[in-house]
Amino acid sequence: MNDGNALYRFLQPHAPDFVPDWGVVLTVAIIGVSIVIAIVGLIALAGTWAERKVSAHIQCRYGPMYVGGWHGWAQALADGIKLISKEDMIPVGADRMLFMLSPSILLGSVFAALCAMPLAPAFYFGYIDLGVFMILAFSSLTTIGVVMAGWASNSKWSLYGAMREAAQVVAYEIPLGVSLLAPLLVVGTFNMVEASNAQADYFGMGWLAFKNPFVLGASVIFFIAVLAETKRAPFDLPEAESELVAGFLTEYSGIRWSLFFMEEYAAMFLMSVVTAFFFFGGFESPLSYLAMKSFGDGYVYQVVCFLTLAAKGSFGIFMMMWLRWTLPRLRIDQVMTMGYKYLTPLALFCVLGAGIWEAIKHAVS
């Protein structure tokens, strides 16, 4: 089982004799979890700063400019210090246990989902045949965290936010899953490394979205559903600040509040990466093709692949920010109409079309 773990394969031959096997496994687990936590922290720091900068430039402002010198790069760190040093408040009427538990459930589910994400073609925490299925399963747990936060706060705003979240996620999980079926149909595997390897042809540009027009259509639907899943504008109804104060976040403050935002940015990155893997090439790009051709599949190729993936994930986050600061928020009935009446049938149509296209391609060749 542990052969699938790249760290285990690397560490096992170097382990001294007196260390038992479970010691190696434990070390690998600790290192892996540390890497995931570092990724989440880094994304949250960079994400909050980028969100401010992107929103500012879209609105013809500068955003943070002073902290740290260069374009206010240390603003997120300063925010973090402020949030940690704030008083940790729990309302008197709240359900204390669930109030404290919900940020952990949210963040834990994102950590679990991130563990299924390969970082490079030969560096992953598990060669999981069900990679993307596992990510979808664990990111559906975040709903429970949001509902728990909203209900435990014992406040009307929070409860409304939680109800909207529940309704919205149930509506958008269908187009999310169904539109993902189209690329899965073409590539024939849930495994993210294998899916990426299947897109290495045409000089690293054999991306699934370019191989089949219906997959390109499905990618748009998938991205819209991802926006709704991650509660980003124009689907940020659970926290709609102009209507519900801050929705399910109303009663949270200090470090607990910031945990919610760590989860949000991590989930954004995770879903952008899933979009990249199954629609837009995963690790593959002309750059990784060149690295493969000139250096083989050694360290250079792995690093280039990791950077490609990070760039694609960051671009996905940038798209989400761009949309957030461009589009107005939908009403809840418009959100429901869009999910059930338009996205679901369109996603089904894309799956059908992708299947027929593949069948014709198979018959012609």
């Binding site: 479970w22 069900l130 299925f133 559906s140 429970i144 209900w151 435990a152 529940a166």
Partner: protein
């Protein structure tokens, strides 16, 4: 004993029960046994919390522990697809729907009356003894070495569903049944235009 002390006593007992189960598992079957103890106590503990908790929403949330524990047991058995489907469908779908239904009740711990603990214990123990005796009389316990290698890959499940000699007809029929049920539910739930006329000032739109 007031409510708070009861809660603390209950959760402490649950924690020690879980630790005992894990220790026993570790002693009998190593790491795998400990994991089994962990997931089993998750499953059973979630169920017990579901009965014990006085707030109906807390009961619903404790079902999450039960579902996740069952998913963990599936993983221990080597059925990773089932485990992930368990989390995706039960926690991400069904539990959210249950919560949607019960969420509007207030977080007030005194809302449900104290369960009659003695009667409950008698009922549970009686039922368990009855079922246990029946099961023990019938079941031929499988030994570890007689178990077939349990590895269900997503590929095998897909092939079994879609091959002509597999379960393709049952699969398609289930799909049709679910679609019919969905459409019927929407048809029953939706308002007719004639119902809407009274709701608007202008007399309909």
């Amino acid at each position: 004993m007031d409510l708070r002390k009861q809660q603390i006593a209950f959760y402490t007992a649950l924690l020690f029960g879980a630790l005992a189960a894990m220790g026993w598992g570790l002693k009998t079957a190593g790491i795998q046994g400990a994991m089994f103890g962990f997931f089993a106590s998750f499953t059973l503990g979630g169920g017990l919390m579901c009965i014990w908790e006085r707030s109906v929403v807390r009961s619903a949330f404790s079902l999450m522990a039960t579902f996740c524990g069952v998913a963990g047991l599936f993983i221990l058995l080597g059925h990773d697809f089932l485990a992930m489907a368990q989390i995706l469908i039960y926690v991400g779908g069904i539990l959210v729907l249950i919560l949607f239904g019960v969420m509007l009740t207030p977080p007030d711990l005194n809302e449900r009356q104290l369960p009659r603990v003695g009667l409950g214990v008698v009922a549970v123990v009686g039922a368990l003894a009855f079922v246990g005796a029946k099961v023990a009389a019938v079941v031929n316990w499988a030994q570890a070495e007689t178990l077939p290698p349990a590895e269900t890959k997503a590929e095998q499940i897909g092939a079994a569903f879609l091959r002509a000699d597999g379960y393709v007809i049952a699969f398609e029929l289930a799909a049709v049944l679910l679609t019919v049920a969905l459409v019927a539910a929407v048809y029953i739930a939706r308002r007719k235009p004639s119902d809407l006329i009274d709701l608007t000032e202008e007399g309909g739109y």
